[in-house]
């Protein structure tokens, strides 16, 4: 295992529209948000509509394996892993994996963009959940097909342990 710490460098001004839009979303004042911007506080329906424009999202069947705990001990750190059983060839590959938490204020949690060189459409991250909610993995293939797997995560709140 190797690692490398790096001291900060000043930004080169290339955060791009995603960075700017995300910062906008953080202040809760949507300004000229592009369809693809992340970090917006919005309802689930508004977010899905904005990002996917009403395109049909099919149930993935067994093709998308979404791994989340049944019960999360807290909403601060909830591990999510997605494994997609679909090709990753230059002409046909999984382009994006979206993680969505229906009841979060920022429901579109993260978007992973993949190149065919990734070899497999696979991702994992720790996410925040505000409350018990469905968590979805929405997968977009290079031809535009959208597939979804969904699981409920119960979030434990409170208790004498904190």
């Amino acid at each position: 295992m190797s690692e490398h710490g790096f001291s900060r460098r000043s930004v080169l001004g290339t955060l791009g529209v995603l960075g700017a839009a995300a910062a906008t979303g953080a202040l809760g004042r949507p300004r000229q948000a592009t369809a693809q911007a992340l970090g917006m506080q919005e309802t689930l329906d508004a977010g899905l509509k904005r990002v996917f424009g009403g395109r049909p999202i099919k149930d993935a069947g067994g093709l998308v394996k979404l791994d989340v705990p049944l019960i999360a001990e807290n909403g601060a750190v909830v591990p999510v892993t997605v494994e997609v059983n679909l090709p990753m060839t230059p002409s046909n590959y999984v382009k994006h994996i979206y993680i969505v938490a229906d009841k979060n204020r920022i429901p579109i949690v993260t978007r992973v963009a993949l190149a065919p060189e990734a070899g497999q459409a696979y991702m994992g991250a720790n996410i925040r959940l505000g409350e018990t909610t469905d968590v979805r993995a929405i997968v977009e293939q290079s031809d535009g097909t959208l597939l979804q797997a969904k699981r409920e995560v119960k979030v434990t709140v409170g208790g004498c342990g904190g």
């Binding site: 295992m1 690692e3 705990p69 049944l70 019960i71 001990e73 807290n74 601060a76 750190v77 591990p79 018990t132 119960k154 434990t156 709140v157 409170g158 208790g159 004498c160 342990g161 904190g162």
Partner: protein
């Protein structure tokens, strides 16, 4: 504060050696009695309007629970006096209000220990009996009232808090609760979700490999202490100057023997306690309890014993006496809730059951060898003392300073159950 007496034995030598003179700026002067960061001292201050508030960690409740007894050895008050309650004459109970009180996080919630029907009931615990069909038992209103007001009248060994005797619930609130309970008749609705019922709920699976630095942030923070080990303090010395060979080598096996009675200070000390005294004495660098420096250095020192069996002294005369005091603390009923550690953490009572959503640890299985631990819910490293101090707040009790000898001897007692088991620091937990 009346606890200074237990610390004065070692204090003068320590102050003399360290040459420090801190000032307590609020409330009684506890600065001389403890070597912790200010928010870990357990100070209580009086506001201009006369109310008293506790100075605790950021985000912790500020309530002063001074009315109720603590773990302090010189706190000679008894537990809340057992009291027979009387149902107020002519009072009628509102079941709707009762249900709201039953599930209110501002109160118990009662669902922390007792399951009742309802899709909105999440997460209920099973430390106490399932009350879903309690009305079928045809208990009188007076009986149920007493059970809530002060259950010790009926069951002297109960873990149930004396909600009326302590004043946590008013008599009218208890009347409303009783009215609600009397509506809980069977048959119970079919359980749609096995996880709703604590008896059939999936047990927590934990947070993965605690020694994987791509999983446990505490490991990255502990690395910062490697620098601390080599840095020369105001006295011109570094830890490394006396403890050669690197932390791993110099400290190998050391932490496996803690907590222990440290003769120089005539008291039981954990690694954290010891560093808070030893650091200023040797390098001149302050290492107050609950500071990042103390926590990170403690992790590093303990990691040097990872995999080695916990091997504390439980045989010497002094150790036995300290263990007995720690055990007495473990079984001591304290706070507004009148709970003892034993009420939740022994197999006979609450261990391996759910308290709300929390799965209760069993002291006999050994609960200490992963401390200090990363806490995902806090995104912080917590040592055992902070964990104990936190338990105090829901119990309704003022906390003692992090380095209180009472906590140290309680920790000694808890650690006795880890003997022979491998150290595994830092943990990663909720």
């Amino acid at each position: 504060m009346r606890r200074a007496a237990t610390r004065l034995r070692w204090l003068p030598a320590l102050l003399l050696a360290a040459g420090c003179a801190t000032t307590g700026s609020v409330g009684p002067d506890t600065s001389a009695a403890t070597r912790t960061v200010p928010e870990a001292r357990g100070d209580i201050r009086t506001l201009p309007d006369g109310t008293r508030e506790a100075l605790r960690y950021a985000g912790w409740p500020k309530t002063d629970y001074g009315r109720f007894r603590t773990y302090a050895y010189d706190d000679t008050r008894g537990e809340i006096a057992v009291q027979r309650g009387t149902v107020p004459a002519g009072a009628t109970g509102d079941p709707k209000k009762g249900r709201a009180l039953f599930t209110s996080r501002a109160k118990g919630p009662c669902t922390g220990c007792h399951l009742i029907p309802g899709d909105d009931v999440w997460p209920a615990g099973n430390v106490g009996p399932d009350l879903s069909t309690i009305a079928d038992r045809r208990l009188t209103n007076e009986y149920l009232y007493q059970q809530i007001y002060d259950a010790r009248v009926i069951f002297p060994q109960t873990a149930m808090p004396p909600w009326g005797a302590s004043g946590a619930f008013t008599p009218q609130e208890i009347v409303d609760l009783v009215a609600f309970l009397q509506t809980l008749k069977g048959p119970r609705p079919p359980e749609k979700d096995a996880d709703r019922d604590p008896a059939t709920r999936t047990k927590p699976v934990g947070f993965g490999d605690n020694l994987d630095p791509t999983n446990n942030p505490a490991l990255l923070l502990a690395e910062g202490a490697e620098q601390q080990w080599k840095v020369r303090g105001p006295s011109g010395k570094a830890c490394a100057d006396c403890h050669a060979g690197g932390v791993d080598v110099a400290m190998k096996g050391v932490a496996a023997r803690y907590p222990k009675i440290v003769p120089r200070y005539s008291r039981v000390m954990s690694i954290e306690d010891f560093l808070s005294a030893h650091g200023p004495e040797t390098t001149g660098t302050p290492l107050p309890m609950e500071s990042d420096a103390n926590l990170n250095l403690t992790m590093l020192v303990k990691m040097a014993s990872n995999g080695m069996p916990v091997a504390i002294d439980t045989e010497s005369v002094e150790a036995r006496a300290a263990l007995a005091r720690g055990r007495a603390g473990f079984y001591r009923r304290v706070g507004e809730r009148n709970h003892a550690c034993a009420g939740c953490h022994t197999p006979e009572k609450g261990a391996s059951k759910f308290l709300g959503g929390r799965f209760l640890g069993d002291v006999t299985s050994g609960l200490t060898r992963h401390f200090p631990t990363w806490r995902t819910s806090q995104n912080q490293v917590w040592d055992m003392r902070k964990r104990m101090q936190w338990c105090m707040t829901p119990l309704g009790m003022n906390m003692l300073p992090a380095d209180a000898v009472e906590y140290a001897e309680l920790e000694l007692y808890l650690t006795s159950f880890d003997i022979g088991k491998p150290m595994n620091v830092p943990g990663i937990r909720h």
